[in-house]
């Protein structure tokens, strides 16, 4: 099994979610993070203008079985794309074992 971690624009989340549902990836978890990267955002606060690279992003953690990896990555790559700096990253890593707590299933069965 592989873990796909995708850091995307918050505003692209709905599209990414739909894209994942379309390829039947119906399981994942997400949360909001602050991302530091190339993108800069202008802010003003009480007369101090500043631009920051700390930008709100959404972090998706999606564990899929190996055969699903490619299409899932593809789906995110396409749906999260705008073309401007700050579209985000996808990281793939290995998951050694998965359990479903409710059924105690292990492995492939557990990520379906």
């Amino acid at each position: 099994m592989k873990k796909i971690e995708a850091i995307i624009r918050k505003s692209k989340f709905d599209e990414v979610k739909d894209a994942l549902h379309q390829i039947e990836v119906n399981f994942f978890s997400y949360w909001d993070v602050t991302g530091v990267g190339n993108e800069k955002q202008g802010h003003v606060y009480r007369g101090v203008s500043y631009s920051t690279t700390d930008i709100q992003r959404r972090y998706l953690s999606i564990v899929v079985s190996d055969p699903f990896l490619e299409i899932a990555v593809d789906a995110v790559l396409k749906s999260a794309f705008t073309g401007s700096v700050g579209d985000g990253k996808i990281f793939v890593s290995n998951i050694e074992e998965t359990y479903r707590i409710r059924t105690k299933e292990k492995g492939i069965e557990a990520v379906k």
Binding site: H43, Y45, Y50
Partner: protein, 398 residues
């Protein structure tokens, strides 16, 4: 008591209740415009300003301010004021005193020791504020005799608080990370919605603050009260619109925190002259206040590098002084623009300077002594982690 006297008393009590509510406004503005890790500390400071102010001002401050004058400089103090026919005035003046004290807490937020702050707040309420207040409002103070006009306290309340805040902000020093090599860094407030609610509550309370300072509503005072409500409202609106426009031009976008400050600036600026100027005059005073506050915040922050997290010095100190001076310009009776010449303006300047000097000197002495004895500032670790967890072992948000 006869109906007209009842009307006056009732009006004072109602306005006092409105001014009381300004404490909630200050609490929200100060917490909203600072970081969440210090919110609990700010709550405690504001509650204690109010509580200690209530007790201290009743116990002694009120008579220091309004007692029989000793040389036009200070009232003769008596302990635990209890004239049962004057309780409405005691109440009204108490909530004013609490306001003056509370202004300081915003400027020193996020780094000041709680125990030190409480001691300072107490001295502010029973010594610093009532003495300069005596000069203007007791009836026989030396500034009254000169003809100084500060109807509802641009100087007596707000400037005193603002200058003390300035001294506090300087002596306690900037928050860690606020300036790097003279460059100011933004430390955004954690909840501008709460800050905005605070501003609206302050605006609400200000109707009591200004219109209550008529200290009557019967007879001729009735129309005066209504006029004050209008000038107050217009100046606040003009201040907010102006600050928004200035910020729009300066930063390319209408800035939320500056717009909110602009409303407060307009309110502070009109406080001195709310009963003396026309609606048009109020509008202009509000515009001036709203513009000046933006530049003042900028200047104090970026040029002077004095860290005043909520802009208390600019809003209350600078706009308070400014508004007091502008009475000399816009007063329909005696103002420069109404053919009154420079006389009133001169007197206004004397009052602003005298009370400013008083506030700066006394606040400096008190804070300096506190600095050398129990210390003004929390440790670096406490500041970085947040005052709430160290000073109160609590988090505001769980």
């Amino acid at each position: 008591m006869e109906a007209n006297a009842v009307l006056d008393l009732m009006w004072i009590v109602i306005c006092g209740i409105l001014v009381f509510f300004m404490q909630a406004g200050f609490t929200l503005v100060e917490t909203g415009f600072t970081r969440s890790k210090n919110a609990g500390n700010i709550i405690m400071k504001n509650i204690m300003d109010l509580c200690i102010g209530t007790i201290g001002f009743w116990a002694i401050g009120y008579t220091v301010m309004y007692g029989e004058t000793i040389g036009s400089f200070i009232g003769s103090p008596t302990l635990f004021y209890s004239n049962s026919e004057d309780m409405h005035n005691l109440f009204f003046q108490t909530v004013f005193a609490a306001t003056a004290a509370t202004i300081v807490s915003g400027a020193v937020a996020g780094r000041t020791k709680f125990s030190t702050y409480i001691i300072f707040s107490f001295i502010m309420t029973v010594v610093i504020y009532p003495i300069s207040g005596h000069w203007v409002w007791q009836g026989e103070g030396w500034l009254t005799e000169l003809g100084f006009i500060d109807f509802a306290g641009s100087t007596v309340v707000h400037s005193v608080g603002g200058w003390a805040a300035l001294v506090g902000a300087i002596l306690v020093g900037p928050r860690i990370g606020k300036y790097t090599n003279g460059k100011s860094n933004a430390i955004p407030g954690h909840n501008l919605l709460i800050g905005a609610l605070g501003v609206l509550i302050l605006w609400l309370g200000w109707f009591g603050f200004n219109a209550g300072s008529e200290l009557a509503i019967s007879g001729d005072s009735a129309n005066a009260v209504a006029g004050i409500v209008i000038t107050t409202n217009l100046a606040a609106a003009a201040g907010a619109v102006t600050a928004m426009i200035v910020s729009w031009i300066s930063y390319g976008k209408p800035d939320i925190s500056m717009t909110l400050n602009g409303a407060l600036a307009g309110l502070v600026a009109i406080t001195a002259g709310c009963a003396a100027v026309s609606p048009v005059g109020a509008l202009i005073i509000g515009i001036i206040g709203g513009a000046v506050v933006v530049f003042s915040i900028d200047f104090i922050d970026k040029k002077l590098n004095i860290d005043d997290p909520v802009g208390a010095v600019s809003v209350h100190g600078v706009c308070g002084a400014l508004g007091t001076l502008l009475v000399g310009v816009f007063a329909t009776d005696g103002g420069l623009l109404y053919g009154g010449g420079f006389a009133q303006l001169g007197v206004q300047a004397i009052g602003v300077l005298a009370i400013g000097a008083w506030a700066v000197v006394t606040a400096f002495i008190v804070l300096f002594v506190l600095k050398k004895t129990i210390g003004l500032r929390v440790s670096k670790e406490e500041e970085v982690d947040g005052l709430d967890i160290h000073e109160h072992k609590s988090n505001v948000y769980n």
